[in-house]
């Protein structure tokens, strides 16, 4: 295995190089993971210190005053994500179903290509687009605009993931259903979607995990608010934007709350992505 047939000095050199380089790959892995541990360590340590009941129940305190919480941002984030899911999941699933089940090669190729391109576009640019599309005509920043931006970011993730899930459903299922005289709609509803159910739920959760930590597009769409704003037509607070605002503020108490917000966000995302991975087993996609 280690080049034992070649004796002499070249053999020793080769074995030395072999050993050194193998160790180096382990060192690379450690170097990649160390920042993760450092970040999690600080977020948990600082975040746990900042988490308290007020964080989840109180509105933000005025600048400079201590106390207060991010209750409105927690609610706002959940509301934004809920609206984004309501828009992004049906659209993404429909696209995934169509390209996987019905479309001719050229059509599905074009849609997959567009989805991949869309997935690579910086989310701040998506924010600019939604600003022009929604914020300008409505004459106000709004939770709705934020949710539309998040839905656009989520769409390609859900589309590609559901596309892949559906391709794992055995072809014989479809043939059996068609042989029984089912229409395409019935084949899809009664056979394919049932067979792929857990994978499709997982695809939706992946989309959710992708947008749950988004900040940049929200800066240009839902903005922020220090009040209870639950109506989608108004600017809306979110955990991510609140963490950003507090992090760059000069107040120690706000820094403490920013860490607490970061911990809440990470907990939310880890839970969602773990469920997605355990449920449907397609968490391997980044």
């Amino acid at each position: 295995m280690t080049g034992g047939t070649t004796g002499g000095t070249t053999g020793i050199v080769r074995r030395g190089v072999n050993r050194t380089m193998l160790v180096m790959t382990g060192v690379c892995t450690a170097a990649v993971l160390i920042p993760l541990f450092l970040i999690l360590y600080y977020v948990v340590r600082e975040g746990a210190a900042g988490l308290n009941a007020a964080f989840f129940t109180r509105l933000p305190a005025p600048p400079g005053a201590s106390g207060g919480g991010m209750a409105n941002a927690v609610v706002g984030t959940l509301e934004l994500l809920g609206m984004a899911l309501a828009l992004g999941i049906p659209l993404g699933l429909a696209g995934g179903i169509y390209v996987s089940e019905f479309a001719a090669d050229r059509f599905s190729g074009a849609v997959r290509f567009a989805a991949d391109a869309l997935n690579g576009i910086p989310t701040i640019v998506t924010g600019l687009f939604v600003y022009a599309l929604v914020v300008v005509p409505m004459h106000t920043f709004s939770g709705l605009a934020g949710a539309i931006a998040l839905a656009i970011i989520m769409l390609p993730v859900v589309l590609r993931a559901s596309d892949e899930v559906l391709r794992t459903v055995p072809h014989s299922y479809r043939e059996a259903a068609v042989a029984l005289g089912a229409t395409r709609w019935r084949v899809l509803r009664d056979v394919i979607l049932r067979a792929a159910k857990s994978g499709l739920i997982s695809a939706g959760l992946l989309g959710l995990a992708r947008v749950a930590g988004e900040t940049a597009p929200l800066l240009l769409t839902s903005l922020n608010s220090s009040q209870w704003t639950t109506r989608p037509g108004q600017p809306m607070a979110s955990l991510t934007v609140q963490v950003f605002d507090y992090a760059i503020s000069p107040y120690d108490d706000w820094h403490r709350q920013a860490w607490a917000g970061a911990l809440t966000l990470i907990a939310l995302i880890v839970v969602v992505s773990l469920i997605a991975r355990l449920w449907g087993g397609i968490g391997d996609r980044v």
Binding site: C28, V125, F129, A212, A216, V243, L265
Partner: protein, 321 residues
């Protein structure tokens, strides 16, 4: 791909006509919805192009090379931002690419099996940490450490290198590049690992049979065979770095200037949009920021297309094998 696509469509291709009535309605509805990504992509490009008209007409191509960024007098040039984006992305990729490929080799070839799934998950977790959390950590942990320890040390030991000269600010190109490296490394690892794992076992076995060491098999067989997948992953990661906004905005220092020193504060395309767009007044100012968005859009679309081309090449090679 040709075998798996169009599964229910095959009935039609074989001569059976689509059923009339509700089935056709259902089919065309899905078809319409499936066009959404294409429509959004085109709409995005057109919208950015149109909304940046004022800036494009006022400054032409010089917009990309001019350094003045003066909202008061209405002079706008994107060079400091373009420079900052390219420099921080460069730093990030130069660090993330070798580390990521090394990690991928470790995970695909060397790590004990019980270790692969958990370590793989941890690496993916790096991609799941929100950008704003990286930024928070960057402000309160990384930047102070750079300012007090790392940058003075680099300055002392590499004083001849222009990259490492000047006062240690903490925030700046180096901080942003380092954070970017951490943020994009999971993309390099994920795709490289996939590509290396896809190398057929018989190729490795042939090299072992000729007396190669493990490292020689990796370097001469596995990695070269997986080359296009690895480059695809690196390019995809590059695309992410180019457009990364929040973490960079929080630690680059936000100064619209060009500097050869990595220690200096700078600015990037994405950051200037995030910081200034909602506060910009005047049509030309807003239009210039939108043109910066257009530049970012164009660069990332091209980088992503190249990446997808390389990645589809391994998918095809895999299907052929």
């Amino acid at each position: 791909m040709s075998a798996s696509a169009s599964r229910l469509g095959t009935a039609r291709e074989e001569g059976r006509r689509p059923r009339p009535g509700s089935d056709a309605v259902f089919h065309w509805t899905l078809r319409g919805l499936a066009l959404a990504p294409l429509a959004i992509l085109i709409g995005l490009g057109v919208q950015l192009f149109r909304a940046s008209a004022a800036s494009r007409h006022a400054f032409g191509w010089g917009f990309l090379t001019q350094s003045a960024w003066d909202p008061v007098f209405g002079h706008f040039g994107a060079w400091p931002f373009l420079f900052g984006t390219l420099l921080t992305t460069g730093v990030g990729v130069v660090i993330a690419a070798p580390l990521g490929v090394g990690t991928a080799v470790f995970l695909a070839e060397l790590a004990p099996f019980w270790l692969r799934a958990p370590v793989g998950y941890l690496v993916e977790l790096l991609a799941a940490v929100p950008s704003v959390v990286y930024g928070l950590w960057g402000i309160f942990v990384l930047a102070p450490w750079l300012q007090q320890s790392a940058e003075p040390w680099l300055g002392d030991h590499f004083s001849g290198v222009p990259l490492f000269q000047g006062a240690p600010y903490g925030v700046g190109y180096l901080a942003a590049g380092l954070i970017l490296a951490v943020m994009i490394v999971p993309f390099v690892v994920g795709l490289s690992r996939q590509a290396i794992s896809a190398v057929p076992a018989h190729q490795r076995e042939a090299a072992y049979a000729l007396g190669s060491t493990r490292w020689e098999v990796i370097r001469r067989v596995a990695v070269p065979t997986a080359r296009s997948g690895i480059w695809g992953g690196i390019l995809l990661a590059t695309g992410r770095a180019l457009g990364e906004t929040m973490a960079v905005t929080m630690i680059i220092g936000n100064r619209p200037a060009v500097s050869a020193s990595l220690f200096a504060p700078g600015y990037t395309l994405a950051s200037v949009i995030a910081n200034e767009f909602t506060e910009a007044t005047g049509a030309l100012y807003i239009s210039s920021l939108i043109e910066i968005g257009l530049v970012l859009f164009a660069i990332t679309v091209v980088v992503n297309l190249l990446s997808r081309l390389l990645l589809s090449r391994i998918a095809r090679a895999g299907a052929a094998a």
